[in-house]
């Protein structure tokens, strides 16, 4: 059973590849790249035009596929950002109308990013404390509808009062929605995984009830009344640019979260409990309290996501549909290894893709759901770098492997 050491020919290329394989940024990029390829294959494989082209000949089929894939990704890119050439020249020209039209996609992508940023931070804070918050979506909707309620109920308030009031209501609602499973976990040990999911479904049903009954718009039915103008979040530009101050708030929250987690004793306690609840107990940290706190804060920030969407974009609550925010937030958090500053980047990745995919759908008839498939592949590859390594035959790094550090206490606890 003796293994023979084969001497590797050390040329520049192999050394470069070796170094590359150790870098974690490369992994992320490779993961995204592989995901894009798979997405492209899926898109091509389910489009009629491509089938027909293959029917004619193989090369035609390939050509048609490549055309489709290029169209898909270029429209995705343009939809998310815009045309770089046009954008720069518009800036240089100083013409307001041109700037607005050419930068529209980019700014709108930021708008779409905002709730992702909030919920990504929410979920990441939970993860750092060892909590799986899969209920971000329900918390978001609770925040959304309660912010709407505060928005249309109070009339005649100045914006400086109304906006914080409405946001605060949303934060409280989301916080409550996170508190309940947190409390249950602290008191009974029941895993938050299933409970937060259950709270999602309860939230959907509750919102449904509210918009059909007490909160119903007397005229239009099955939605809430429009919120007061005084509750609208400040927008930076005129219509149709929708960038609102929610985005800035989200960035601030991200920075605060970073400071909290890495520079304060409270954040230290969060992470300690996430790493090792037993030793944390010995060092005097009250683990159940941290659990409750983590889920409540997580819920509050997710509620803030909903409130921000409501007050900045939607202005009234219609039916709550499961759009996958919750799962997306988990992906965003994992990709950034739960680091708040990293989440700014990864949430932009998701937000831009989401927005761009709407344009893409218009141009190519490829449903935006392909983004979900893409995203799940990306997390897959991030969570298991070994898969990427197998695909690209990269060597194993000598030092400790770049692993997604989710200290999951659930692994040790049973569901």
């Amino acid at each position: 059973m003796a293994k023979k050491e084969t001497t590797v020919k050390r040329n520049i290329l192999s050394i470069f590849i070796e170094e590359l394989s150790k870098s974690s940024l490369v992994f992320i990029l490779l993961a995204i790249f592989t995901g894009l390829i798979i997405g492209g294959i899926l898109a091509a494989g389910t489009t009629e035009r491509v089938w027909q082209a293959f029917g004619r000949s193989f090369t035609e089929g390939i050509r048609e596929s490549l055309k489709l894939i290029w169209l898909t990704y270029s429209s995705l890119f343009k939809g998310s950002f815009g045309d770089p050439a046009k954008m720069i020249s518009a800036l240089l020209s100083g013409d307001k109308t041109r700037i607005f039209s050419d930068w529209k996609n980019f700014l709108e992508s930021l708008v779409v990013t905002t709730p992702y940023l909030f919920s990504g931070i929410a979920v990441a804070l939970g993860f750092q404390a060892g909590i799986f918050n899969i209920g971000a979506e329900g918390q978001l909707y609770m925040g959304s509808i309660m912010a709407a309620w505060a928005g249309f109920t109070f009339k005649g308030l100045p914006p400086i009062v109304h906006v914080p009031l409405a946001l605060g209501t949303g934060i409280l609602a989301g916080g409550l929605w996170g508190f309940i499973p947190g409390f249950i976990k602290a008191k009974t040990g029941a895993s938050e995984v299933i409970n937060t999911i259950m709270m999602n479904y309860i939230a959907f049903a509750l919102v449904q009830y509210l918009i059909a009954n007490p909160f119903q718009d007397p005229v239009q039915g099955f939605k809430t009344p429009l919120i007061e103008q005084s509750a609208h979040l400040y927008r930076f530009f005129e219509d149709p640019l929708r960038l609102h101050i929610g985005f800035v708030i989200a960035i601030i929250i991200a920075i605060l979260a970073w400071f909290f987690l890495y520079k304060t004793t409270w954040g230290y306690e969060f992470r300690a409990v996430g790493f090792n609840p037993h030793a944390s107990k010995y060092s005097g940290i009250n683990s159940p309290i941290i659990t409750i706190l983590a889920l409540t804060i997580s819920g509050a920030i997710a509620g803030l996501a909903g409130a921000s969407e409501m007050l900045g974009v939607n202005f009234r609550q219609t039916q709550a549909l499961s759009t996958g925010y919750g799962f997306d937030a988990i992906a965003i958090a994992l990709l950034a290894k739960n680091h708040p500053l990293g989440i700014i980047i990864t949430s932009m990745l998701f937000g831009f893709m989401r927005h761009g995919s709407r344009v893409m759908q218009l141009k190519t008839q490829i449903p935006i759901d392909i983004i979900s498939i893409l995203q799940s592949f990306i997390i897959l590859f991030i969570a298991a770098p070994a898969i990427i390594r197998t695909i690209y035959r990269l060597k194993e790094p000598g030092k400790k492997e770049f692993k997604v550090e989710i200290t999951s206490r659930v692994s040790g606890e049973k569901l």
Binding site: M1, A2, K3, K263, T264, T265, W266, Y268, A272, F275, N276, H278, A279, S280, K281, Y282, S283, G284, N286, E405, T407
Partner: protein, 520 residues
């Protein structure tokens, strides 16, 4: 006669470490071969290779002269090799029968289990070797000593001829150890051959026919009990002449720092694991609690340190009642705790060394102002402690998980000792450590005692307790059944107590000098 088992040139690498270095070994039929070495020497790795759990990088295994290929435990079992592991491989919620026949089940048609037939065979084996096992019992209901016998039955059920036993006496009382040796002798009389892995010198002298000493992955010597003695063996094991004596001034105890009154703790299965225990620990003495694992010591310590709630009774530290207080309050009073499970309770493995060194004090000045952490103060403290306590680490930022067991324990010691402490609670402080680290820990414990601390030492290593403690108590089934002066008892007396047998102990003459057993 040819040896029944031969290992030739076994070599095994792990990342960064050469666990086995061209090891040769012979085992003759009907012989008990002891493999002696301290923790981390490579003995378990070698046996795992023999049993097919690991694959060797180089070397061959021969049974009765024929080369065999042990790629998996199935191969080993088919070759007649069986292994009793240090940590039992038993499923608590299954019965004895199910555990024994797992993998080699007796079946009726279509895969249906034949529990009766298997139970009958187990009963036969049990009667033949006087093992006294009930096939229908659930493992979790059996005491540890009997669980070990189930492991032995597992081997005999599969007609093993070569039995490997890995540290079998770690969890046994001295009486149970004697019985185990009797069973081993009767096995050998029936033609079985036994390899016996241990680090305990006295046992090796008692039961082995031949002894092989391994150090740092290499065979460094062979001996027989007749031609050797504990001192020579210890020197071979450690690689340097070892001082078998511990120097200790007589204790000068003062006022009590810890007082426990009628403490009762109940676990989640409604067992009374600590049953109205009372004792006190005085400043300037080492109070040792001896006892086999599983008699309530763990829960007692967890209760004293605030990690577990008691049902009734009172605890006083430095005169203050701390019965249901949280760990931080207890720590702030001047208590230090070296926990039994250092990786679970004592360290946050993913955190860097510098954070683990302030695990109990991070919230105080100078390590934080208000809620903001002060990295400079934290780093300075870490650098100082690493130097003072000689902690071998790649840096103060290294995650503590990369440190060796001994150095991890040093981190804990450094942290606990860097506070002003009056009471030190040390639970199994030298478990799994190499000799050098053990000596270090023992020296620190005595040092603290001489500085005026009260030290509560809880250990399953009887020799450690006998050497270090000034007064000794024994815990059995949750009760503290005796408290004696260390000079006034022999190991046999304590051994009996650990098995629940109380005798009247007549005062003995003070013995002049104590020989210390290397407790690796």
């Amino acid at each position: 006669m040819a040896p029944i088992l031969e290992l030739c040139g076994i070599t095994k690498h792990f990342p960064g470490v050469l666990a086995n270095d061209h090891i040769d070994l012979q085992l003759n039929k009907g012989e008990i071969l002891a493999i002696l070495g301290e923790n981390g020497a490579g003995k378990t790795t070698l046996m795992n290779i023999l049993y097919g759990l690991y694959s060797a990088d180089e070397g061959i295994i021969k049974i009765k002269g024929k080369v065999i290929n042990c790629q998996s435990p199935t191969d080993a079992i088919n070759a007649g090799i069986g292994m009793v592991h240090q940590h039992f491989m038993l499923i608590p919620v299954f019965t004895v029968t199910e555990n024994v026949m797992l993998g080699n089940e007796y079946i009726r048609t279509a895969g249906i289990l034949d529990r009766q037939k298997a139970a009958k065979r187990i009963q036969e084996i049990s009667d033949l070797y006087k093992l006294n096992i009930d096939p229908q019992a659930l493992i979790e209901d059996l005491p540890v000593g009997l669980q070990q016998r189930v492991e032995i039955i597992k081997l005999l059920f599969r007609n093993a001829d070569i039995l490997i036993m890995d540290e079998p006496t770690a969890v046994l009382t001295p009486q149970e150890v004697k019985e185990l040796f009797k069973i081993m002798k009767s096995l050998v009389e029936r033609g079985k051959s036994i390899i016996f892995i241990t680090h305990k010198l006295k046992e090796v002298m008692e039961c082995a026919d031949r002894i092989m000493v391994i150090r740092a992955g290499r065979v460094v010597g062979e001996a027989t009990p007749k031609t050797s003695n504990p001192a020579k063996l210890a020197a071979m094991m450690v690689g340097r002449p070892v001082d078998l004596n511990v120097e200790k001034e007589p204790a000068k105890p003062k006022e009590p720092v810890l007082k426990v009154e009628d403490l009762t703790v109940i676990d989640r299965f409604n067992k009374v694991v600590v049953d109205q225990v009372s004792f006190e620990v005085r400043a300037g003495e080492i109070f040792g609690i001896a006892g086999v694992q599983g008699n309530g010591q763990t829960e007692l310590v967890r209760c004293l340190t605030g990690l577990m709630k008691s049902e009734s009774g009172k605890i006083y530290i430095l005169g203050k009642e701390v019965t249901h207080q949280d760990p931080r309050t207890i720590t702030e009073l001047g208590t230090a705790h070296i926990p039994e499970d250092r990786q679970k309770d004592g360290l946050i493995l993913q955190n860097p060394v510098r954070y683990n060194l302030i695990m109990n004090t991070y919230f105080k000045e100078p390590f934080s102002k208000g809620i903001v952490l002060q990295p400079e103060a934290i780093n300075k403290n870490a650098e100082r402690l690493v130097k003072d306590f000689d902690i071998r680490t790649p840096g103060i930022d290294a995650a503590v998980s990369v440190l060796s067991g001994g150095n991890q324990q040093k981190v804990i010691v450094a942290r606990e000792f860097s506070r002003p402490i009056k009471l030190l609670i040390a639970a199994q402080p030298t478990r799994g450590l190499d000799v050098g680290s053990i000596e270090y820990i023992h020296e620190r414990l005595i040092e603290k005692r001489d500085q005026g601390c009260g030290v509560l030492l809880v250990s399953t290593e009887l020799d450690e307790v006998m050497q270090l403690a000034d007064r000794i108590a024994v815990m059995y089934r949750g009760k503290l059944i005796a408290t004696v002066d260390a000079d006034a008892v022999t190991k046999e007396d304590i051994g009996l107590l650990m098995a629940g047998i109380k005798t009247e102990i007549k005062a003995k003459k003070r013995r002049p000098k104590k020989i210390r057993e290397i407790v690796t």
